[in-house]
Structure formats: structure tokens, C-alpha cells
Amino acid sequence: MKILYFAWVRERIGKADEELDPPAGVVTVADLMRWLAGRGEEYSYAFDNPKVIRAAIDRLHVRADTAIGSAREIAFFPPMTGG
């Protein structure tokens, strides 16, 4: 699946997007954040406080307990500051 990062999440990880294939045990968005945090220092820095990170599955806002299912695109970003 394609994972996208925005704003300071993108800056901390050092890339805007990547193709990843998480293992079977990764069921929810929260699981995915934990798995990503274990991928290296830049990821653990980005996901240091997962409570503040927002997520979207296939361009819809979701909560951390949402199952990933057959998502094609998952995005992680800080609280939005548009408008």
C-alpha cells in the first residue's frame, strides 16, 4: 500500500510517500503507526506521540482504531491548520 506523510510528519521521516507491505499482524491504523515507529530513528521521532497524529484511509479521515482492510492509500499528518 502507499503511505503518505505530510507537514512535520513528512519532514521528520524525510520522505513524502513510500510503498510498504506491512506484516499480517498490522490490523488497525494504530498498529500501523506502531509498526512504522519501529522502522528507524526518523520514524520513531515522527510517531513519538501517536495521539497527535491524524490519519486518512483512501482520502477519508479515520480514527486510530479503524481497520486498514484493503486500503490502497494511507496518509499520516498533524492536526490540520487550513482555512
Binding site: R59, P78, T81, G83
Partner: protein, 158 residues
């Protein structure tokens, strides 16, 4: 309904004209323009840079316009949100709502702005002396968005 994301400056007068041209059913137009301030938290800034998630931003704004259309008797809506580097004094966002009576247009414009602040995937970075820092989300904006739902929960997010 028209949703546009663009870097180019926006022209509120031209957008209102485009929305009302040839129509006599509209009795009220409300426009809201958000403008880049020259200072943030009391300190001057050089510019704002808005990052966004293009495909989601357009879809998310359209979903909230549809929600506004369900709640109020609207005859037209235009939302234009800029991205990229924006200098103080320039427009950031334009919301236009049209209805036959003013109450619907006022309420819908306020609703849309409250949701754009907290739900549209845009992130502001403040530039000062060539150095960038991300703007923190404000809890006052969350509270403003929450007041549109009885439970304090965003129905359009479900």
C-alpha cells in the same frame, strides 16, 4: 458547487459574478475571505506556506459542501483554497454561499469555514527570517467546528 485548489491569487468579485451571472433566484450572497496576517503570535512573519493533500482536500471540501447543502437552502457554493507560499496581505481562502434569504447563506459560510479550519488537509508553515515553523492547531478552532454537531462530533467524518 465549485471547489478549486490553486496557488494563483483569487478574485472574490469575479467569483461572485460567475456564481450569480444570469440568475434572478439568488437573494443573498455571503463571501468570506481569509487573509494572511503580517504577524503571528505577536511577531512579524515573512510569509505563510501552505502544504496540502491535493486529492483528499478537494474531496473533503466537496463532502462538507454537500453537508451544508443538506442543512441549508443554498443556491450556490464556491470554495477556493490556495496553497504554496502566500505573502502577508494576500488571500488564503474564499468561501461564497448563495441563498434566497440571508440566514442560510450566513450560516452555511460559517459552517464551511469552521470545517475548513479543522478538517481540510492543509498545513500552514510560518516563515520568519528564512526559517520555517509549523503552525499548531488551535483548540478554539476545534470547538468552533464541534458546535455544529449536537454531540460535539463531526458527522461528516463518519
Amino acid at each position: 458547487m465549485a471547489v478549486r485548489l490553486q496557488h494563483e491569487p483569487l478574485d472574490a468579485v469575479a467569483e461572485v459574478a460567475a456564481l450569480t451571472r444570469g440568475r434572478t433566484d439568488i437573494g443573498a450572497i455571503v463571501t468570506f475571505t481569509g487573509i494572511c496576517r503580517g504577524s503571528e503570535d505577536g511577531a512579524p512573519i515573512t510569509a505563510l506556506t501552505l502544504e496540502h493533500y491535493p486529492d483528499m482536500a478537494e474531496a473533503e471540501i466537496a463532502r462538507h459542501i454537500e453537508e451544508a447543502e443538506r442543512r441549508w437552502a443554498l443556491l450556490g457554493v464556491t470554495v477556493i483554497h490556495r496553497y504554496g507560499r502566500i505573502a502577508p496581505g494576500e488571500e488564503i481562502v474564499l468561501v461564497i454561499t448563495a441563498s434566497s434569504h440571508r440566514q442560510d447563506a450566513f450560516a452555511a459560510a460559517e459552517f464551511l469555514m469552521d470545517y475548513l479550519k479543522t478538517r481540510a488537509p492543509f498545513w500552514k508553515q510560518v516563515e520568519r527570517a528564512g526559517h520555517g515553523s509549523w503552525v499548531d492547531a488551535k483548540s478554539a478552532d476545534d470547538q468552533a467546528a464541534d458546535r455544529w454537531t449536537a454531540t460535539g462530533h463531526d458527522a461528516a467524518a463518519e
